[in-house]
């Protein structure tokens, strides 16, 4: 009996030992996945604090995953990433732009396509379509991060001035143009945006007009030239014509191409201008620049409806998902899963408090209670605006090659405002450039 017991004990201890070794080996295999990552900001940037807080929470929930961070200022980040890509030393986690800004990585096979992972885990179900839309002509999705849209068309309204002049926020673009004379007669500038850096008019006004006149489907065709669509079509020419009409009506002043964003914002904040056209990011500037009492009567609106447009309402704005995370295409399965955990953690609504704390207002398919967390009147209006936008329209410089947008469209828009080019000529010039050079057409 004793012999049998000791034999049993020996067997049991052997089994325990084997189990311990097996568990230890498994634990060893799982432990200490270390990822590398570089972020496009420095330690003085608010994004740094947001990232640290997110990582602390992530690491507490996933102690087996360690991320080693490196930080570089915006331009230095892009320069270093190019050098790292060439030398085959890219970090595991990449900070990527949804459009062309990191095209040197996404367009050359350095970033992993996330579509399989997104569908596998059903991430797309909790997000609005704009976050998982194609980021390349062939449908790939390379980056996904905090579900926050940078809406590029927002009309900031000084309602107090409007009331004083006896006007209402217009329902249509024609009504908007019709107000210019009255506003000027009252001694105010109608609408300012400051286009000296040349991207503003395109990003904050032309894009939404092209999207509404043509629909995102037409734009997708124009990008690749599918079904004979192109930038000589009515939506693009029509949008340019509308801008010319806005100049002729006095709503857009010929001085805008020589005015900086800061000067335009200053004109609005100091009550010299009734409308300020910009992106949703201006909320941050306005929050700090506006006196407390003025926050109550500054409204955040989308561009009034364009009569006869394919998207006739005003519930659309141009925009792009915020910068987010992707991963190097060279990662093995283990590192891929670890990096994907980090990306999902940033997306998870349970971490929304960190995003809100640092001024980001994520939007999901369902209400996750963000509005209840806000106290600042402008933040409330900003979130209400973001949630009210049913159609997120493409931003030209996000989808088309920078060279054509900057050298032809942005420069051409400034000439259009100054009256030295016609809408038709500018559209023809751009279509010729896209047909000959744009990577979307070449990838068709």
């Amino acid at each position: 009996m004793n012999y049998a017991l000791s034999q049993l004990a020996r067997k049991a201890s052997s089994l325990l030992f084997a189990t311990a070794i097996s568990l230890g080996a498994t634990a060893l295999a799982r432990a200490d996945v270390t990822l590398t990552a570089i972020f496009p900001y420095t330690k003085v940037d608010p994004d740094y604090a947001r990232l640290q807080e997110t990582y602390e929470r992530f690491h507490a929930a996933n102690p087996d995953i360690t991320i080693k961070f490196d930080y570089l200022d915006h331009d230095a980040y892009h320069n270093k990433m190019q050098a790292l890509a060439i030398s085959g030393n890219l970090p595991d986690i990449l900070t990527l732009w949804p459009g062309k800004r990191t095209g040197y990585l996404t367009g050359r096979g350095y970033a992993k396509d996330l579509r399989e992972l997104i569908q596998r885990d059903g991430v797309d179900k909790m997000l609005r379509p704009v976050f998982t839309q194609a980021q390349a002509a062939t449908g790939e999705v390379y980056e996904i991060g905090v579900p926050y849209v940078n809406f590029t068309n927002v009309v900031y309204v000084n309602r107090k001035l409007l009331d004083q002049i006896g006007l209402q926020y217009p329902k249509t673009l024609d009504g908007f143009m019709g107000q210019a004379k009255t506003i000027r007669a009252a001694g105010y500038r109608p609408a300012v945006f400051g286009d000296q850096s040349s991207w503003v008019l395109q990003s904050c006004l032309l894009s939404v007009m092209v999207g509404r006149l043509g629909t995102p489907e037409w734009f997708a065709n124009a990008l690749t030239g599918a079904e004979g669509a192109g930038f000589k079509d009515e939506p693009f020419v029509g949008a340019l014509q509308k801008i010319k009409q806005m100049v002729d009506a006095g709503l857009i002043d010929p001085s805008e191409p020589s005015t900086t964003r800061e000067q335009a914002l200053s004109a609005f904040v100091s009550g010299r201008s009734v409308y300020f056209i910009g992106g949703i990011w201006e909320v941050v500037n306005l929050t700090s620049a506006l006196p407390a009492e003025m926050k109550d009567f500054v409204e955040i609106r989308s561009l009034p409806a364009i009569e006869g447009a394919a998207l006739a309402g005003s519930d659309s704005s141009s925009g792009q998902p915020a910068t987010g995370f992707g991963m190097s295409s060279k990662l093995d399965d283990e590192k891929t899963e670890a990096a994907w955990k980090w990306i999902k953690f940033n997306l998870d609504p349970s971490n929304k408090d960190i995003a809100v704390k640092y001024g980001l207002l994520p939007i999901y398919t369902e209400d996750v209670g963000i509005a209840d967390m806000l106290t600042d009147p402008l933040a409330k209006k900003s979130y209400a605006f973001s949630s009210s936008i049913a159609h997120v329209l493409p931003v030209l410089d996000d989808r088309l090659d920078a060279e054509g947008v900057m050298q032809v469209v942005n420069a051409g828009l400034q000439e259009l405002v100054l009256g030295s080019v016609t809408p038709e000529d500018l559209a023809a010039k751009y279509e010729a450039w896209v047909a000959a050079n744009d990577s979307n057409r070449k990838a068709k």
């Binding site: 060439i86 050359r108 000296q196 000067q263 090659d401 920078a402 060279e403 050298q407 051409g412 400034q414």
Partner: protein
């Protein structure tokens, strides 16, 4: 004698080799590298393809290049016929004590050259903005609060504010260079000239100017090289706009290289800038040599 020469040569080589190596690494290698890159389509990543003279053909058929070249020409002109003569004139006035409180004027004239280009660009960006200081002064004078400056609205005048800033900022540099050289002029010689009945114009024309020819040449070379490569003030002041009305080649190069990832094309622009610089400096050297010869012949 022979061994001394060898020793001298060895000493020269020993002393100059480090400098030559550094110069070669810092200047010659990048220039040659740029030249090689200019014949490729390198995008900053990937392997560059040799594309012959395509970058140069595209560049010479691009109106933005020619507009930048025109503006660069104006910048060079303003430097050569604006900053340098004005710098010399002011130095001469101060040196000859033709005004009182010369110390104060020295400080005032040189002060802009001490400022950071970024600060200067921001300052003048506000001064010349459509709703900026100049506009507000004019607006108040004519009783139109909506008045805005239209200097940037025209292709021909958009570069003007930048040229004004260049004269304001860099004249002080040439002023100091000329002042330092004028102080080398022998006071006895000037005194003798005055005793011989020379008036201020005679002193300037026959004594001072001929002695300053090498200084003019050095200043002109400095001005040409600086004018062709400078863009930072313009970048902040106007971003080369509106449209490309105030663009210069330096900015055109930066935009193509770093915004459009056309490193090969950007290199081709830099090669053109180097060639242009060398060409202008050779012309200036030839002109200066001719003046010097004429002066020496006249002196004999």
């Amino acid at each position: 004698m022979g061994s001394e020469t060898r020793s001298d040569r060895f000493s020269y080589a020993l002393l100059t080799t480090p400098a030559l190596l550094i110069y070669g690494l810092v200047i010659v290698v990048p220039v040659v590298y740029s030249l090689v890159l200019s014949f490729t389509d390198w995008a900053g990543v990937g392997i560059p393809n040799f594309i012959g003279f395509t970058n140069y053909v595209v560049m010479f058929s691009d109106p933005i290049f020619w507009w930048g070249l025109r503006n660069n020409g104006l910048v060079v002109l303003v430097s050569l016929i604006g900053q340098i003569p004005l710098g010399f004139f002011l130095a001469y006035v101060i040196h000859r004590r033709l005004v009182r409180h010369s110390g104060f004027f020295e400080a005032v004239i040189f002060f802009p050259a001490l400022l950071s280009p970024v600060v200067v660009a921001l300052l003048f960006g506000v001064v010349f903005a459509p709703t900026g200081l100049v506009s507000q002064i004019i607006g108040r004078a004519i009783g139109d609060p909506m008045f805005s400056l239209t200097v940037f609205n025209s292709k021909n005048t958009a570069i003007l504010p930048y040229l004004i800033v260049l004269v304001w900022m860099y004249t002080g540099i040439y002023f100091i260079i000329f002042l330092a050289n004028l102080q080398k002029t022998s006071p006895e010689m000037l005194e003798a000239a005055v005793l011989d009945g020379a008036n201020e114009w005679n002193i300037l024309k026959s004594l001072i100017l001929p002695q300053q020819i090498p200084v003019f040449l050095t200043s002109a070379i400095y001005a040409v090289a600086g004018s062709l490569k400078s863009f930072e003030i313009l970048w902040i002041m106007t971003n080369g706009g509106p449209s490309y009305y105030s663009n210069v080649l330096g900015l055109y190069m930066i935009q193509n290289t770093f915004s459009f990832y056309k490193y090969g094309f950007g290199s081709a622009i830099s090669v053109v800038l180097i060639l242009l610089s060398v060409f202008l400096i050779l012309i200036l050297s030839a002109i200066a040599a001719r003046f010097t010869r004429r002066y020496e012949q006249g002196a004999h």
